[in-house]
């Protein structure tokens, strides 16, 4: 099943004008686009939200636990479970960002990395791209020093506990659901990430 089309696909929308309406560098750029649909109709003011690309790491320790962060996230409004994650620095390779953030946020390093894919945050507006990774055989080499605004608690979960958290809807963000689901399915062997990305 082919899903990626090239830039000349007839179904592609054409941007005929774009107006920046708000920018707060380097975090956010909002613009409005006027677009021509494939059938010729003009759509005015279709929003575009540019946010920084980021990485998320599903890291399994050498003894089989998964590293989870429990922290308040302001977009959620309460304390919830997340995976180690962070912005990609300008010019930084996503895998390098993943290795850097895992070590900064948790103190763990890994020598066994697999891409779980890269995904757009919002199909309509964009909202940045997340690069998801599986890190295995992770070992703790230092103390965490994330520099993040949020205090966080580092927890170790079994895959069974993560699946229970998904079942009981205890995970608050779409990104955490996606990355935890992919990681669990990869470890169980239901998916086999091909690392083509």
């Amino acid at each position: 099943m082919q899903t990626k089309s090239n830039q000349h696909n007839p179904e592609h929308w054409q941007v005929v004008a774009e107006r920046e309406v708000f920018t707060y560098k380097p975090w956010m750029r909002i613009s409005m686009q006027d677009i021509t649909l494939p059938d010729g109709r003009l759509v005015e003011n279709f929003g575009r939200i540019q946010l920084p690309d980021y990485i998320s790491v599903f890291a399994q320790t050498a003894d089989g636990h998964v590293i989870v962060e429990r922290q308040y996230k302001h977009g959620v409004g309460f304390v919830s479970m997340n995976l180690p994650a962070g912005m990609i620095e300008p010019g930084e390779d996503p895998i390098k960002a993943a290795q850097r953030e895992l070590k900064e946020e948790t103190g763990y390093v890994s020598d066994q990395w697999t891409s779980l894919g890269s995904f757009v945050g919002n199909g309509n507006y964009g909202c940045g791209k997340g690069y998801f990774f599986l890190a295995q055989n992770a070992v703790k080499v230092t103390d965490p020093d994330s520099g993040d605004l949020e205090d966080m608690e580092i927890l170790l979960f079994t895959v069974e506990e993560l699946l229970e958290a998904l079942s009981s809807q205890k995970i608050a963000t779409i990104g955490a659901v996606a990355s935890i689901s992919l990681g669990c399915m990869a470890l169980i062997g239901i998916i086999n990430p091909s690392s083509e990305d």
Copy 2:
């Protein structure tokens, strides 16, 4: 493992000021907040992105296939796989929106609905909430009539084909990855959605 805290949790950030910087009703409201962290530090201009809440439906037909839409999404920039999804109308119950959108976009109805959870689009900024549902025993009763800007092709996938699409990173958005993963895991029996939501 308790993850939801109440509104008085000491880790909760306090919003001390908010400035609306861009609004395009009913689609988008962007504001900047000044926030006091639990340790007393002031953070100025933390972004908040309000987008409409929406539903996404993982619908399995009576003969065991999953209904997938193949369409161009402008936030992605190419043709990709999605599940039936759409905005929740003002005052509309999420399950009613899910039933309405499934019928409008695909022509299918179902008498067997399970909540897979509701999830915030972006842990930092918000970006709307998605309500994900599993619909089983779906039957086609009419032709699709979505009214969406995008042309779409309706395809029927087996669970195995969806897992292969996840493995080979053919799914383009975090929302589609999350909802397809939850649906597949529920059908396989790896998670057991409790429908507490």
